[in-house]
């Protein structure tokens, strides 16, 4: 199992202050994820939002370059090329651009620059067009990548700074307080997810298994849920018991009997079988 980058969740809150209480060995390691809800946006809207700032500068630069090149081509060919010789002396730049493009590309390559400078400008123009097409494809690819991955990944833990973070009762809050986040405690995962969906909290710190269950219960939620790729620690699930309970009857404390049984199911294939009945991630029970 991948080790976590941050360990947020060691919690012995219950047994720490009650020495007659004990916990068994962990029977499941649940990855802790940071979850937030994004506003539902269509692919087009997201694309335009990301693409627009880039495209404005891109189109501006392209237009300027196109005007310069076409006008240079026009000037170099104006009195040499047989088709342009008889054109009006100073037509508008836009008309000239369209005319040259029309000749160059759509009239079966009839337009051949006659001057040496015109030939060079035409070559630069073609290379520029290839580069522009390449850059355009890169921009589309990057924006698509951004669209897909920004939904899944939480860039940095500093995102949590100053934000309200929903957590379950019993989770250690010290790390969140160090991050200057505001922890809000909930009794159970359902209430936590409900608060997240209602934007009562900006983020939620939840186990992967609880998240999986939430998505299973509400499949529509998966389209606007944002989950950290990395896990920020893990919850080790245990059974809690009284220290000496069962000694008289069993000859050893019940908690030790459970401990031995957990060791047994983990060393055999039984842990996988038990987990597979209740979760889609049975690997969480094997470590």
């Amino acid at each position: 199992m991948m080790m976590s980058n941050y360990l947020l969740v060691p919690s012995k809150e219950i047994t720490k202050n009650n020495h007659h209480l004990m916990a068994t060995s962990p029977y499941l390691l649940d990855e802790v994820k940071i979850v937030s809800i994004t506003k539902p946006t269509s692919w087009i809207v997201s694309m335009v939002t990301f693409f627009m700032p880039l495209s404005v500068s891109f189109v501006s630069a392209l237009s300027a370059l196109g005007i310069i090149l076409t006008y240079s081509l026009y000037l170099s060919e104006r009195y040499i090329h047989p088709r342009l010789k008889h054109a009006a002396p100073h037509p508008q730049t836009g008309v000239i651009s369209l005319r040259i493009i029309h000749y160059f590309f759509w009239q079966n390559h009839r337009f051949r620059p006659y001057s040496r400078s015109g030939q060079w400008i035409a070559k630069v123009w073609m290379i520029t067009l290839i580069l522009v097409a390449f850059i355009f494809c890169c921009m589309v690819s990057v924006s698509l990548y951004h669209f897909h991955h920004s939904r899944d990944d939480l860039g940095d833990l500093s995102e949590l700074q100053g934000q309200s973070v929903g957590i379950l009762y019993g989770r250690d809050q010290k790390y969140l307080q160090k991050l200057k986040a505001q922890p809000v405690v909930y009794q159970e995962a359902g209430a936590l997810f409900h608060a997240l969906a209602a934007h009562d909290v900006s983020y939620a710190l939840v186990g992967r298994s609880a998240l999986e269950r939430y998505v299973l219960q509400d499949p529509a939620s998966s389209s606007h849920i944002r989950v950290s790729q990395r896990h920020f620690g893990y919850d080790a699930w245990v059974v809690l018991g009284h220290k000496n309970y069962g000694q008289a009857r069993l000859g050893q404390p019940l908690i030790e009997v459970l401990d031995a049984f957990i060791d047994h199911v983990q060393s055999s294939n039984l842990a996988h079988d038990i987990c597979a009945r209740h979760t889609k991630i049975p690997s969480l029970c094997i470590f």
Partner: protein, 105 residues
Amino acid sequence: MMVLRFFLRMGIHLLFLCFGSHAAFAADHDDHVRIGMLTNDAPASDLMQSGYASGIGIDIVSQALDQQPISYELVPFSDRVSAVAAFINDDVQLLVGSFKRDHQK
């Protein structure tokens, strides 16, 4: 002297009675385990509408206890605070759910 001997005998009887009843109570108390479980805490523990309890923690505990000469009953709790309170007060002897501890023992 007779009075002293009488009180001594009574004291010894009382002592035996106390130890005996304690042992008897302990044996009786250890025969039946009350297991606290969270009702809406899948996949650790969950209580279906039909009353059927399921979950990884439930399976582990029930399979372990089935092999022991003791009976058990599940006591459902809808929230963690009341479950933990009942556990600390010895109303339940085991607690099952997504209760955590530090992985490093």
